[in-house]
Amino acid sequence: MDFTFTPDEERFRLELRQWLQDNLPRGWGAPGYEYPKTYEDWARVRRQWDRTLHAGGYAGLSWPREYGGRGATLIEQVIYFEEIARARAPEELNRGAKLLLGPTIIRHGTEAQKQRFLPRILSGDDIWCQGFSEPNAGSDLASISTRAVRDGDMLVVNGQKVWTSYATVADWIFMLVRTDPEAPKHQGITFLLADVRTPGITVRPIVQMTGSREFAETFFDNVRVPIANVLGAVNEGWPVTATALSHERGTLAFHRHAMIRVELDELIDVARRVRRGGQPVSEEPLIRQRLAQCASELDMLRWTLYRNLTRQIQGGPAGAEGSIVKLYWSELYQRITELALEILGPASQIAGGARAEEGGRWQFRFLKSRGDSIHSGTNQIQRNIIAERLLGLPR
């Protein structure tokens, strides 16, 4: 057992930290910084940030060098996530493509597809959105009903996707379509790449309860997509999907952990600063216990992530352990943000304006946290996965 980093890893961390300090967008990184107000401004900042990362050599960290990546080790990827959280850097706009799609194209794509798509993912020239969920296929993803019918060397797509993150600002969509409605549910699915500007695609933003709007519904009306844009083969999209999803719960949790840690540290500062009845709130026994409990649980998360990391480095599966981590952090984060409102007291109710404590950001986080137990597989689904795959309980 050893919790130290190698000199190479430490060097990577320090270089990255320095690079972030030099390259972060103006004002970012300061706790009090006012983030862009509109979703469009936000997306613009993030798209620019993707380009900056690319220029700095930090795009596609995990990708092999032959595809323009950095070939970074798992530990370097973890360091990367820790440092960008620490620096409060913007999230990459094209993260889904870099983490999920890229590795999937590398594994299942044709040479032409690799040439065409991979470089533009890294450079941020193509922003991608993910078209998996449908109104009647959420937890039960394999029951998608968006149809694609072959017409010569084209597939003609009709149907609807939902929760397509970033669809309003994306250039491309990777999506699942049903190409054989007669086949069993998990067969007859095709993994397709489509230009969002293809005629017949309509994107309607979905506003979330936080007021932000990074999701959308996407409608397909006789959309013609070349067969050449099928990833894998027609009707054989499910294993391709499995590859993509296996990356969803991978190292990303390190980023969430590191972000929550930055926020919890902020919260501890708040609790020491805000006074109630002449003493800092951090001295109130009830708050104190709950804050200590949150800090402890966050450490449990951290060490669990590191244990999984070692297991992965040793060649163990990433799979269902990711569900443990997702379940744990999403519920922990809900408790932390709820506690934050109690620490702030009645002023936590104020969402904006000069009187808003901490710029209303804890309130935003509090609301946002409610989505964390839903997206990327609801916590009910995560519990199924844990029970069935890790404990071997019957379906």
Partner: protein, 375 residues
């Protein structure tokens, strides 16, 4: 021993529900997000015609001279409909406070309250969030027979449209429990309002700043610094009222979850047939039914001025608002992605629950009331 409402009380409930279902569907609530005041005078008048704010007003002032129990189910309905109006303040707190005021103050305000012409609100807390009354945000000191007021009250419901503001202030230099109750009117010098953007967009709040405002004895209820008893009766009733609103809101959130669980299919079955959803809904119902019982009891205790009214109200307020938040949160989870959207109504319930949790004393503060009374 009869623990249920009367037929008349249920009829009143039905009328209120009918009115609110018709005039305040959530589509209307959404329209009102964009209006200047976030307040709908037609709905307010409609409720007043049902007697909402006349219930606790004496007959001589045009009221119905009924009891808190006769208002309880209407308050529950107001929670169910997420009514964006200071009904707890106008219909409960002002009549109770004015009961202890002199005849001139009563005559000035009670008839308008009873008729629905007057919209009233109450200004209490400062930003520190200390328990009441220690946490009152405005201080008063005497200058001759006048009181001079300074300070701030955050989160005053619909402050900017209120015709009258009942301000509770602590007396400077005296114990933390010496309360004065003062009636401020719109346009009084030395007071200013600022709209506050709150967590709950359907319920407008403002911050009241008072800077050297001077009021004569005619504006004070009872004696300056001696209104503790009035203040507490008013607070007890308001807590019971909020508990009832939470029960009403939670009922609707639970209903939405159950209805959705019956029709939403995944894996070829309604999701309500999966125990993960089924048991969550069962737990929601258990929490809802039990705290509803407590809220109803608190209503009775307030109505009859039972010795345990303050404890019953504190219990009900703590448990019902926490239940509402939990039920609304679970309802979102049952809905999955759609529950997290602005388009779906659930988030309004979740946000109202969070508003009610902080209003008039947090659950922690309410539990302390229970502890102080019981051990």
């Amino acid at each position: 021993m009869y623990f249920d409402f009367s037929k008349e009380q249920y009829m009143g409930r039905d009328s209120a529900r009918e009115l609110l279902d018709a005039r305040l569907p959530t589509t209307r609530l959404r329209e009102m997000l964009g209006t200047e005041t976030g307040f709908d005078r037609d709905v307010w008048r409609g409720l007043a015609e049902l007697g909402s704010s006349a219930v606790l007003v004496p007959e001589e002032h045009g009221g119905l001279a009924l009891g808190f129990l006769d208002l309880a189910l209407l308050l529950e309905e107001s929670g169910r409909a997420l009514l964006p109006a200071p009904i707890v303040e106008t219909a409960v707190m002002l009549p109770l406070a004015l009961a202890d005021a002199g005849p001139r103050l009563q005559k000035r305000w009670l008839p308008g309250i009873a008729s629905g012409d007057v919209v009233a609100t109450v200004a209490l807390g400062g930003s520190e969030g200390l328990p009441l009354p220690a946490g009152l945000g405005v201080r008063a000191h005497r200058e001759g027979s006048d009181l001079v007021l300074d300070g701030e009250a955050l989160l005053v419901p619909f402050g900017e449209i209120a015709d009258v503001v009942l301000l509770a202030a602590r007396m400077n230099g005296s114990g933390t429990h010496d309360v004065s109750l003062i009636l401020l009117e719109r346009g009084d010098p030395g007071i200013s309002w600022e709209r506050v953007e709150g967590l709950d967009p359907t319920f407008r709040t403002s911050a009241l700043t008072v800077t050297g405002a001077r009021v004569g004895p005619g504006r004070v209820i009872g004696e300056p610094g001696r209104a503790r008893g009035t203040f507490e009766r008013m607070l007890d009733a308001a807590r019971a009222a909020i508990a009832l609103q939470a029960v009403g809101g939670a009922e609707r959130a639970l209903q939405l979850a159950v209805d959705y669980a019956k029709v939403r299919h995944q894996f070829g079955k309604p999701i309500g047939s999966f125990q993960a959803i089924k048991h969550t809904c069962a737990d929601m119902l258990v929490a809802h039914e039990t705290t509803r019982s407590g809220a109803y009891y608190a209503a009775w205790a307030v109505d009859t001025r039972a010795p345990d009214a303050g404890v019953a109200a504190a219990m009900a307020k703590a448990l019902a608002t926490e239940m509402f938040r939990s039920v609304a949160g679970h309802a979102i989870q049952v809905h999955g992605g759609i529950g997290f959207t602005w388009e779906h109504d659930l988030h309004f319930y979740f946000k109202r629950a969070k508003y009610l949790e902080f209003a008039l004393g947090t659950a922690t503060q309410c539990r302390e009331v229970v502890a102080a009374a019981r051990f």
